[in-house]
């Protein structure tokens, strides 16, 4: 899943490995980070973010100790997080949006539940009675819909509605989203079927899903062992059939199945959710309905949200903020103590050299040594070692079976201009002749700051920096093959977060040939073959196989420069109860929050 926040800077680094270990080692729970006077932010480690499964979990969800009903919670999302542009479940594929939709509004086949003691996430059945039954080679999955599930208007949810939701996930038009990565890639006829709105397949019956009573059977075109995880996406939930769900209007007010429904929604500005009285807690093993009302405000001025969080006034007591400016970190640590939460997030930032233009591995490695990890982080507004920690493996902390390694000569890559120059020399490039072109956001002062740091470091490492300023999202440039700026680049980037803790959600979208977010155009036959092969392995061997492939890619080809793993920095008011980071996303776990009396 792509980070919604634009990539102002990408950076990886070489702080003492203890910090990285801190980012990945904790097995969930609330460890204390740092021992500064005046209070310590709560660190919520990655743990094994949702690797556990509990197919027998039943509703209602276990009550939270001391939780009380009532109250209004305000969540402020500081810029550049513009939140949600649509509430339509089908295209939902962002950290901020998925957390809100899955936790509060839209139910799907499966979902995640947080262990109150360890903070670990585990996969549990949601609308389905279990986590799905599959055949031996994972090419056929079936889920049974619980009975008595209703939309917010009292209309019953039918298996046909779920089929319709699945059909919609194939859309490559206005609803394009995670389905392009999973439904289209693994489901039967995924290469031909384009959803109910596409001209070519409109009105066609999709043959991949069959319904018998309450049982929904999905046929795959190739083995898909992660179908139960894919079922946790809101795209794998019910959508009412007919004109009522036509995009884009449905995205303004989708029919809620979760504990909350939409009261008002202004895209990218504000979302207000109120209790959905048609939601039956007895069918839901993961969600609670303690809070009366949620007010979510997107794209807020970061300095303003920080001051609200720090003020401790009455309004701020029931307010959550989802990020913090670096300069207010020390202040917040002192004033908020454990109400400042450093949450892990399964995300990795990459600099992605163009594999065709920079075909010599030594030059790619030189680029790795030429990147000023700490300087670029700090100048770009990251809190070094806190919101951004050094990385090496492609898979971020929290992924099942993940192993760390040294990408070049068994060593962690750090900023080292001498080594970069040496590698350039070995590649037969005269220092001061090799041009590196990349884009930065010129309307973001911190993006400009980071660009200056990077330029300086590239120059010191023997490259000729050629930064190109653009406005708008960098992804608009990187993912548009016809963009003339994009064509002129030889260094791009991507920040990727796992959709669930399996290498399947990380390595194929970034390192398989011809993928949208493979911005370096990396293409190796051996890697492509292995990516196709791993999902067919026995389930228990897959995590290790992904991790080995991870190491092979980086040590053998070094196609992408790891510029760090990210953590989120959130704050919550003194009257917010049971606030926890959802390590699956790096967002508040809205399901279990209550307001103290």
């Amino acid at each position: 899943m792509r980070l919604t926040k634009p990539l102002a800077v990408a950076a990886a680094g070489a702080l003492a490995m203890s910090l990285a270990a801190c980012g990945g080692g904790g097995n969930g729970g609330n460890g204390n980070g740092g021992n500064q006077p005046g209070g310590t932010p709560t660190y919520q480690g990655a743990g094994t973010a949702g690797s556990a499964k509990d197919a027998t979990a039943k509703g209602p969800a276990q009550p939270i100790p001391n939780a009380t009903s009532g109250g209004t919670v305000t969540v402020l999302y500081p810029s550049p997080d513009t939140g949600l542009a649509t509430l339509d479940p089908s295209p939902g594929w962002s950290v901020t949006g998925n957390a809100i939709e899955q936790d509060l509004v839209a139910r799907s086949l499966t979902t995640f539940r947080q262990d109150p003691k360890t903070g670990d996430m585990s996969l549990v059945p949601d609308l389905a009675t279990d986590l799905g039954q599959h055949n031996a080679d994972f090419t056929e999955w079936s889920f049974t819909l619980k009975s008595g599930i209703k939309y917010e208007n009292g209309k019953p949810v039918t298996p046909q509605d779920i089929k319709f939701g699945i059909e919609r996930s194939f859309d490559l038009g206005s609803l394009v989203g995670p389905g392009s990565q999973y439904s289209a890639a693994y489901f039967l006829d995924g290469d031909k079927y384009k959803g109910p709105y596409d001209k070519a397949t409109k009105g066609q019956d999709y043959k991949g899903v069959t319904i018998k009573g309450n049982k929904i059977t999905i046929k795959m075109s190739k083995p898909f062992p992660d179908m139960d995880y894919w079922g946790s996406f809101e795209a794998m939930g019910p959508i009412p059939q007919g004109n009522v769900s036509n995009p884009p209007k449905y995205g303004l007010h989708p029919w809620a199945t979760g504990p909350y429904k939409v009261q008002s929604f202004q895209p990218n500005q504000q979302l207000v959710l109120v209790k959905n009285n048609q939601w039956d807690p007895n069918t839901d093993p993961a969600r609670h309905q303690y809070v009366d009302k949620w007010i979510m405000k997107f794209d807020q001025d970061p300095e303003k949200t920080d001051q609200i969080a720090l003020s401790g006034n009455q309004a701020s007591q029931t307010t959550i903020t989802t990020s913090l400016l670096a300069q207010n970190y020390a202040d917040a640590k002192q004033k908020l103590g454990s109400r400042l939460v450093q949450g892990s997030q399964p995300c990795t930032y990459f600099n992605y050299p163009d594999y065709k233009k920079i075909s010599n591995i030594k030059i790619r490695q030189a680029l790795g040594y030429a990147y000023p990890y700490q300087d670029a982080w700090s100048a770009g507004g990251e809190i070094v070692g806190v919101t951004r920690v050094p990385g090496n493996a492609i898979l971020p902390p929290g992924m099942v079976g993940r192993k760390t390694y040294g990408p070049i000569d068994g060593q962690q890559v750090t900023y080292d201009p001498q080594k970069a120059k040496q590698l350039l020399k070995e590649a037969g490039v005269k220092p001061g002749t090799y041009k590196v072109s990349w884009v930065y956001k010129k309307d973001d002062p911190q993006g400009v700051n980071a660009m200056q740091q990077i330029s300086k470091a590239y120059k010191a490492s023997g490259f000729v920096p050629n930064p190109i300023g653009v406005t708008g999202s960098l992804y608009d440039t990187w993912t548009n093959p016809d963009d003339k700026v994009n064509k002129s680049l030889n260094l791009r980037g991507v920040a990727w977060c796992s959709d669930w803790p399996s290498g399947l959600t990380f390595i194929p979208p970034l390192f398989q040939s011809n993928q949208l977010y493979n911005t370096g155009y990396f293409s190796e036959k051996s890697v492509d073959n292995r990516i196709k092969q791993i999902p067919t392995l026995p389930l228990n061997q897959q995590p290790a196989a992904w991790s080995d492939l991870d190491k092979t890619i980086e040590t053998k080809f070094y196609p992408a420069i790891n510029t760090g793993y990210s953590n989120v920095m959130m704050t919550y008011g003194s009257k917010i109860g049971n606030f926890n980071n959802d390590p699956n996303y790096g967002a508040p776990n809205y399901r279990d929050i209550y307001v103290k009396k």
């Binding site: 300069q327 970190y329 020390a330 507004g381 010129k442 973001d444 700051n449 200056q452 406005t471 003339k484």
Partner: protein
């Protein structure tokens, strides 16, 4: 202005002695009278000093930067600012303000999080700010003057066309124009960063001048409308003076006063406009500007107030001085001002 009244009245009272023969009754042009008034106006003189000071700073910015041994070079963030997340001075400079004393190497301190010298940035910011404002003033005055003269003097269909054009341009808000033009230029010149920097610089001047000439044009048109019916203009016309000569030699000299006033009040408006656009992120690119510093510094206000004060003081001082000077010039030139 009351304070001038106080200064001048004693002088009038003092003037009891009879007009002596050494005080010749010399003919003075209205401009000479106004200039004399201006010289006696202390506020005007103080403002003028400030403005000249800023002009010198702008002209000699590179020299001054060299003199103070500061430059715009990027410093490695973690070498000059605190990169230790656990520290309370996170992001702030390791030397100099706000946490440590005066740093002679960087008299204005350095920017948090990126370490660029504040003095160098301020000096070059003043240079860019004044250059843009001056150019925009000259160009917009030229356009406004020309169109106003032509419209007022020619009348008829020409007048109507120019007046329509004026109204049309008045309808375009400059921030919107800048907002919509910026991405177009970005797109066009994105792969040539050096050219892009130049293009945005001149396009900003272009936007400010193209959207800044209308008030002067209207003013000029009105003035010319009344002037062209005067006897001396009619006389000039009758003896067969070419129109261009009538406009330049007969009418224009009578418009000097409103032009000077328009210039002196236009200049500060452009300074603030430039800073405002830079603050919004649609100003000049790749060159220092006070607005950029203000944009970056607002987030640091609580922890590093000096960082914000520097550009703010620069702008306020310059704009207030220019405005006061403009007011004084206006008062001095206005024969109706009571003194």
């Amino acid at each position: 202005m009351s304070h001038q009244l106080e200064q001048l009245e004693p002088a009038l009272v003092d003037d009891e002695r009879p007009v002596s023969e050494d005080r010749e009754i010399a003919g003075k042009s209205p401009l000479q009278i106004a200039f004399g008034r201006l010289l006696r106006d202390k506020i005007a003189m103080a403002s003028l000093t400030v403005v000249i000071l800023f002009a010198l700073i702008a002209i000699f910015a590179p020299l001054l930067a060299h003199l103070f041994n500061v430059n715009l070079d990027t410093q490695s963030t973690c070498e000059v600012t605190d990169c230790n997340a656990a520290s309370y001075s996170y992001g702030l400079p390791l030397k100099g303000p706000p946490l440590h004393g005066f740093d002679p190497e960087h008299p204005f301190g350095i920017a948090p999080q990126n370490g660029v010298d504040n003095l160098a940035f301020w000096l070059y910011g003043a240079r860019n700010s004044l250059f843009i404002a001056t150019m925009a003033t000259i160009i917009s005055t030229f356009i406004g003057l020309t169109l106003g003269l032509i419209a007022g003097y020619a009348g008829g269909i020409v007048d109507r066309m120019i007046s329509f054009l004026t109204d049309l341009f008045l309808a375009v808000p400059y921030i919107l124009a800048a907002l919509s033009l910026a991405p177009i230029l970005d797109e066009r010149f994105a792969i040539h960063p050096a050219l892009q920097s130049k293009v945005t610089f001149w396009s900003l001047i272009g936007i400010l001048s193209v959207l800044g000439w209308m008030y002067l044009a209207r003013l000029m048109r009105g003035e010319v409308l009344s002037l062209r019916e005067r006897e001396y203009v009619e006389a000039a016309r009758l003896i067969g003076m070419p129109t261009r000569r009538i406009l330049v030699r007969e009418i224009l000299p009578n418009l000097v006063a409103p032009i000077v006033v328009a210039i002196s009040l236009g200049l500060p408006a452009y300074v603030t406009a430039e800073a405002g656009l830079a603050f919004l992120g649609i100003g000049i690119v790749g060159r220092p500007s006070w607005g950029q510093t203000i944009d970056a510094a607002t987030n640091w206000w609580q922890r590093y107030p000096l960082y914000l004060w520097e550009p703010v003081i620069g702008i306020v001082l310059l704009v207030v001085a220019l405005n006061l000077l403009g007011d004084s010039i206006r008062d001095a030139l206005d024969p109706k001002t009571r003194r």
